[in-house]
């Protein structure tokens, strides 16, 4: 199992101990999950019997935007500060 690659995609920095432990546990879980194969699945397709309830595409003001800003870990003049992405 490519544990480093999975961790990179999942964006979680793991210690070496965590990597070792997780690799062993994930292998055990996948071995256990193989029992699904005994169901001899065919062409079943999962489809939902639920229906979307659409609403009018209309802008509604959110009254408490200051409460959103208060949760920002780093803020300057009401805007969230984020690390460089380019």
């Amino acid at each position: 199992m490519e544990i480093d690659r999975i961790a990179k995609i999942a964006r979680i920095r793991l210690t070496d101990d965590e990597k070792q432990h997780l690799e062993s546990q994930l292998n055990r879980i996948l071995e256990w999950a193989k029992q699904i194969e005994q169901m001899e699945l065919g062409d079943e397709e999962y489809f939902t019997d639920k229906t979307n309830v659409f609403r009018e595409d209309k802008v509604e003001p959110f009254p408490d935007s200051q409460l959103i800003v208060k949760n920002f870990p780093k803020v300057q003049k009401g805007k969230v500060i984020v690390p460089r992405s380019l």
């Binding site: 979680i12 699904i36 397709e45 999962y46 489809f47 408490d64 690390p83």
Partner: protein, 443 residues
């Protein structure tokens, strides 16, 4: 009678009653039931699971990755509660990841009947808060047993409603194709009373369905002979503890003697529902957890570039079980693995849905144990995922078909309660509640 009595209390009696609840919260801190306590309750009280938002209150979902998050809006189900006081926010397995209550970053939630044992989860704090008289009602969530498991282990009542009956707006999701919000209480009347308030279509949740408004608590009475219960041959699996099976059989016998008709059915692939769930849920959970990146809320680790900051923040603040599930979900949805794992899980879910619906067609309600085992000691389950996952044997019957399921106490083994699970077809909550109410009256 508990709920009806509380709802009819005069002001003075209610004040004394609520003071007793605050005393119990203070005295029983070691059970780790509450994360936030709200002072000043003056109406019958309700506890809210901490993965649901209440405007202006902290909402941690029992995870340090949003330790200091203050919710800017109410969950729809919360905003529909009337004439109740929110007494506090309760602990859970972080983001709903567990059936024990031990996976809270604020300390393991302890069983109210034996503090060395698990309380059930993930709505563990609610179960304890009700059992130790810290609140009158509670609002929990149920993806794959999360409010029925603690109801069973703590000896209280909990209802998972049908998918689409109650809006999930304001719920921090675990697995969006299965998540529901539902009530817990001291009795069937209590859960019915809360359910009557919180149902209905919501423009903020596109999967809520237009349904006839029902006052469930006013329609609980039914003649036993009008109901047919389905029971599974050999309890559905050899994974069931023999003492639990015997207690549930005793409950079935009492219902039969009262006049409820009984039919027997087989569900041979029930055991396979557990790995099916863990593969599918992990895929949805890995996606749901992407928003917890330290950018807009929660603590943030230092770093120069975006990926570095996000990876370090998640590495530090996500606990072991969350990492395990996110890693599993990431793996099973990788392009080269998808068809072997995620697609197989989706197909298995479709097959199981057909099988369960075939069984449900034989009667009105499906009776099983809520939990196949008694609550383990907290230390026994901390690092054994497969042992934990096996607790979900009967939990999937309702979520797979999108139907409701109720857990009611049906006896004790030693000091520990056993729960009876009553499932029904989608949107047939009333049948679950009527049979549960009938059963309560037989005691």
């Amino acid at each position: 009678m508990y709920s009806e009595t509380v709802l009819a209390m005069g002001r003075k009696d209610l004040q004394e009653h609520i003071a007793g609840q605050y005393d119990s919260i203070e005295k029983n801190k070691k059970f780790n039931a509450f994360i936030t306590v709200n002072k000043g309750a003056d109406k019958p009280t309700i506890a809210i699971k901490d993965n649901l938002t209440v405007r202006g209150m902290r909402a941690t979902s029992s995870s340090k990755i949003i330790d200091n998050y203050i919710a800017p809006y109410n969950a729809t189900a919360v905003s529909r509660l009337t004439n109740l006081s929110i007494i506090g926010k309760t602990a859970l397995d972080a983001f709903g990841t567990g059936s024990t209550g031990s996976n809270s970053d604020y300390g393991p939630v302890r069983n109210p009947h034996d503090e060395e044992r698990v309380a059930g989860g993930s709505s563990a704090g609610n179960g304890v808060a009700l059992a130790l008289d810290m609140c009158d009602f509670a609002l929990g969530t149920d993806t794959y047993g999360s409010l029925r498991s603690p109801s069973s282990f703590c000896g209280v009542v909990g209802l998972r409603p049908s998918y689409g009956l109650v809006s999930r707006y304001g719920l921090m999701d675990l697995s969006m194709s299965l998540d529901t919000i539902g009530p817990m209480a001291h009795d069937v009347y209590g859960v019915s009373y809360i359910l009557s308030m919180i149902t209905g279509q919501d423009s903020h949740d596109c999967l809520t369905e237009k349904s006839k408004k029902i006052d469930y608590h006013k329609e609980l009475g039914i003649e036993a002979k009008r109901l047919t219960m389905i029971v599974l041959e050999e309890n559905g699996s050899n994974l069931v503890d023999k003492k639990v099976a015997k207690t549930v059989e005793g409950a079935v016998n009492r219902l039969e003697q009262a006049g409820v008709k009984k039919v027997v059915a087989r569900l041979p692939d029930l055991d396979k529902s557990i790995p099916m769930y863990y593969l599918g849920m992990a895929a949805e959970f890995a996606s749901a957890m992407q928003k917890f990146d330290g950018l807009r809320y929660g603590p943030r680790e230092d770093g120069y570039e975006l990926d570095e900051v996000i990876s370090k923040t998640r590495g530090r603040y996500l606990n072991a079980e969350i990492k395990r599930r996110v890693m599993l979900g990431t793996f099973v949805t990788m392009k080269e693995q998808q068809s072997k794992w995620y697609a197989a899980a989706i197909k298995a879910r479709a097959r199981l849905k057909q099988e369960i619906n075939r069984v449900m067609a034989k009667g009105d309600v499906l009776i099983t144990p809520t939990m196949p085992v008694m609550p383990w000691k907290i230390k026994e389950v901390m690092d054994d995922p497969l042992k934990n996952y096996a607790m979900d044997l009967f939990s999937g019957l309702a979520p797979i078909i999108g139907g409701p399921a109720l857990s009611v106490p049906c006896g004790t083994i030693g000091r520990l309660p056993v729960g009876l699970q009553i499932g029904a077809k989608r949107f047939d909550e009333l049948k679950c509640l009527q049979l549960g109410y009938l059963f309560e009256g037989l005691k």
